[in-house]
């Protein structure tokens, strides 16, 4: 077999971690698509990337980014949370109701987050303790929460007029082209990404998504981690709810219904596999940005809204296809490397 010196050379390749390179590449793919699209639009319509235009792009993405990042944490653990749309709706209204009663905006946000976390905990408990398929449970809670919401809200609605103007302004103001909401989302994003990358518990999310059985044997506290993922997801959906209120200044019992599909698409486009254990939240954020940008791009280049949906879908397919092709390329690299390693053996 090998001399003891050799492996070290092979083991720490000068080129740095292949894994990281792969991940980076995947994000690059989406980034490329995004940049291309925006550039093309800008050329077609110079008003597009005006200060107002950029601001709008970022604002539109904010809410989806937050929810999608939460969803990604759950999906990485090989689970899924379909109830995010309903949670967003009910927390948004709760926050609005609170503000309507003359509550403090900051408290309102906290309230929304707490409520969201509570629903997340409910999902998490059902999935981790009950050990039942996440898809079914969260589809169930999707209905339950939505139903409770519409019973509680009835035909009431929160309108901008009843909200403190400070709160509403926070929803669309910012530092020149950089809206406050976007800053908030960015902070959350970086924090989550850093946690997943650099903390044991974060890595364990990936581990138990990659192989629950192995995770159990490696002594990963599986239930605790899954619960945590769901709570985080719920909390972020709650935060998104509060921001939705600030942004649109208008919430009723239908708010956020059907949102889960958008969120799932963002996660998928972002390169997080539903089989768990892989992907990064940065990719997801880019995915979210891509999806929302499409919806701003098409109208502003004058595509009749009749075409929007079709183009939406096709672009989504395109994005995941590109990502896939890249992934295939990488496995090719892997195999070549394996070959090289083997021939590197035995002198």
């Amino acid at each position: 077999m090998t001399t003891t010196a050799e492996p070290v050379r092979v083991a720490v390749p000068p080129s740095g971690g292949l894994l990281d390179r792969v991940l980076k590449m995947r994000e690059l793919a989406i980034l490329a698509v995004l940049v291309l699209m925006l550039a093309a639009t800008q050329i077609d319509n110079s008003a597009f990337l005006s200060q107002q235009g950029i601001k709008d792009l970022l604002l539109n993405a904010t809410i989806l980014v937050l929810v999608a990042v939460g969803e990604a944490m759950v999906v990485i653990t090989r689970n899924v949370d379909l109830s995010v749309g309903s949670v967003l709706g009910i927390t948004a209204f709760a926050a609005g109701d609170f503000l309507q009663g003359g509550g403090n905006p900051l408290l309102a946000v906290v309230l929304a987050v707490a409520l969201g976390a509570a629903f997340g905990a409910l999902n998490g408990l059902l999935v981790s303790i009950g050990q039942v398929p996440a898809l079914v449970v969260t589809l169930g809670t999707l209905y339950i929460i939505r139903g409770v919401d519409s019973i509680w809200v009835g035909s009431r609605e929160i309108t901008a007029s009843v909200l403190p103007s400070g709160f509403v302004d926070f929803g669309h103001n910012g530092l020149s082209a950089l809206p406050y909401l976007a800053v908030l989302a960015a902070v959350v994003l970086v924090a989550v990404a850093y946690f997943l990358r650099n903390y044991r518990s974060g890595r364990e999310f990936y581990a138990l998504g990659s192989s629950p059985e192995a995770a159990g044997l490696a002594g990963v506290p599986v239930r605790k981690r899954i619960l945590a993922a769901y709570i985080a997801c719920g909390a972020l959906a709650g935060l998104a709810g509060a921001l939705y209120l600030a942004r649109f200044g208008n919430v009723d019992s239908g708010t956020g219904s059907g949102y889960e599909l958008t969120v799932v698409s963002a996660v998928v486009v972002g390169g997080v596999a539903f089989t768990g254990g892989s992907g990064s939240v940065y990719g997801v954020a880019l995915g979210a940005l891509l999806l929302t940008s499409i919806n701003s791009v098409l109208p502003s280049i004058g595509v009749s809204s009749v075409w929007v949906q079709a183009i939406d879908g096709i672009l989504l397919l395109l994005a995941i296809a590109v990502d896939r092709v890249l992934a295939l390329r990488v496995t090719g690299v892997l195999r070549k490397r394996a070959a090289e390693t083997r021939s590197a053996r035995h002198g």
């Binding site: 077999m1 090998t2 003891t4 050799e6 492996p7 070290v8 092979v10 083991a11 720490v12 390749p13 971690g17 292949l18 894994l19 650099n198 903390y199 044991r200 890595r203 364990e204 990936y206 581990a207 998504g209 990659s210 192989s211 059985e213 192995a214 995770a215 159990g216 044997l217 490696a218 002594g219 990963v220 506290p221 768990g276 254990g277 892989s278 496995t331 892997l334 195999r335 070549k336 490397r337 394996a338 070959a339 390693t341 083997r342 021939s343 590197a344 053996r345 035995h346």
Partner: protein
């Protein structure tokens, strides 16, 4: 039951432990004591309860009865984590890795070295992994994802993981099943040094010579019951086998001379980019051809390509004179080809299905009439073969995943033999199979050869190759390095070719 130093307290021990799965009583009142600085072997047939015992020690299973003693004190392990924290490191029979994570992370999951603010120190994780691989003398890239590793490489990662604990107790469930001689030697070297540093070792292997090479004491189980615990020296292989099987064993390599017929399988200049190159050989009906080589030589890859699971980039495969369409296992089967794959859990069996369904998966046409399944036919086909290979099971309807490792392997054999193939490729057919069954499998193979089946046997178990093969093909770095007739095949000649010492003969 006596042990050398009565004053000494066992580091880890079991007392009267029983464990049942449904009606299967995997363990009944078994006792076992592990002492510091001693390597203890656990012997027994497939399904004897070895792995179950280990899982009881490791806190995976909670015993129905009996107690686990740590330094003489009763303890309850609520999970693998508890056992780990108590200094018990376990290598399970089936590698359990995180396919998406890097090899290094696989080793240190949950125990990564940390920097300030409890952040994981990725650099030192990688370095530590590299250091472990150096100790074991394997050259895996710590950053390589575990997905795509061969069984052998996976097993090596598991070993590295266990070593990384520098635990007081090291438990190894058939760690060598996938390894070749040199790696085994490496492993034993490391284990011995650990033992000398005062670690207690529990070792399971179906290769008895390894038991004798490594261990001081051996405990034998039969059908979940404790049979004996005794020192190894002064114990003969036959005695040990008798304890395990409960009877005397006839010859381990019953090679019947079969008259060699026409060429059944011929492979010409087969090449798969980056995996194997220019592989040519023939297998005649009635012939058993051994395919030897070091781990990662590409033997399984060749087998997979021939059977059509992987595509090949160049070359040709003929079965019975007719060329095979590349990448079409169903056609290969139709042509009379059968492949017992290397990785029984991922490739050989559908773990989520019953024993019966697994056996019949290769005979859907055979067991259906006018496109509709015939339940009676299915059941009898399954029973027939399960009994012929003496699979130990409770009900055919049970999940195949609940069978012991060896019995799972038997089910894989059953499902392929049931297709009565004209060419049978077996990749590590006796990996993790006990001596008794091993003998049966060998008898079965030479019997098949006698009936005119062409057998290609990939094995990392050199004695097996030498004992069974009419001809030995040796692969080295993805090429056929040598072809050695039975007469000239010896440990030396084969290893020489496998390690590329001798130039390519033939």
């Amino acid at each position: 039951m006596t042990h050398p130093a009565p004053d000494q307290v066992p580091v880890l021990a079991l007392e009267g432990v029983s464990k049942s799965f449904g009606a299967v009583r995997a363990l009944r009142g078994v006792s076992l004591q592990l002492f510091a600085g001693e390597a203890h072997a656990l012997a027994g047939e497939n399904g004897a309860g070895k792995s179950t015992l280990i899982k009881a020690l490791a806190g995976v299973h909670r015993p129905d009865e009996g107690t686990v003693l740590l330094d003489g004190e009763p303890v309850v392990f609520h999970g693998p984590a508890d056992a780990r924290d108590a200094g018990v490191a376990v290598i399970y029979q089936e590698p359990t890795l995180f396919p998406d994570l890097s090899v290094a992370e696989n080793i240190f999951m949950g125990r990564q070295p940390r920097r300030s603010l409890g952040r994981v120190d990725h650099r030192s994780v990688r370095a530590a992994a590299a250091e472990l691989f150096r100790r074991l003398g394997v050259d895996l890239d710590p950053d390589q994802p575990a997905r795509g590793l061969s069984i052998a490489d996976q097993q090596l990662v598991e070993i590295a993981k266990a070593l990384s604990f520098d635990a007081r107790v090291l438990i190894m469930d058939e760690p060598t099943a996938a390894l070749t001689g040199s790696e085994v030697a490496r492993l034993f070297g490391v284990v011995r040094s650990l033992r000398e540093e005062g670690a207690a070792v529990l070792f399971i292997s179906h290769r008895l010579e390894e038991v004798f090479a490594l261990c001081q004491r051996v405990t034998t189980l039969r059908d979940g019951a404790w049979i004996a615990s005794e020192p190894v020296e002064g114990l003969g292989e036959d005695d040990l086998i008798r304890r395990m099987v409960g009877r005397d064993l006839d010859e381990l390599y019953p090679k019947l001379p079969a008259e060699v017929g026409a060429v059944a399988l011929s492979v010409r200049r087969l090449t798969r980019e980056g995996v194997f190159t220019d592989v040519s050989f023939e297998v005649r009906s009635g012939e058993i051809v051994g395919l030897a080589g070091l781990v990662g030589a590409g033997r399984s890859e060749v087998a997979r390509a021939v059977f059509g699971v992987d595509r090949w980039d160049g070359g040709e495969v003929q079965v019975g004179g007719k060329p095979l369409k590349p990448g079409a296992p169903s056609l290969a089967m139709a042509a009379g080809l059968a492949l017992v794959p290397e990785d029984r859990r991922a490739q050989g069996l559908v773990m989520g299905m019953s024993i019966e369904r697994n056996i019949n998966l290769t005979g859907l046409r055979a067991t259906s009439r006018a496109g509709v399944m015939n339940r009676g036919g299915e059941r009898s086909r399954a029973v027939d073969w399960a009994v012929r290979l003496q699979v130990k099971y409770a009900r055919l309807a049970d999940l195949v995943g609940t069978l012991s490792g060896g019995n799972q392997q038997k089910v894989v054999l059953a499902k392929w033999l049931a297709t009565s193939p004209s060419v049978l490729i077996v990749d590590e057919p006796t990996r993790g199979i006990d001596v008794g069954t091993k003998a049966e499998v060998h008898r079965l193979l030479s019997q098949l050869a006698g009936e005119g089946v062409a057998v290609l046997m990939i094995s990392s178990d050199l004695p097996e190759i030498l004992g069974m093969a009419d001809r030995v093909l040796v692969m080295h770095e993805g090429r056929i390095a040598a072809e050695i007739p039975r007469a000239e095949a010896t440990e030396q000649s084969v290893m020489a070719a496998a390690t590329g010492v001798t130039g390519r003969a033939a």
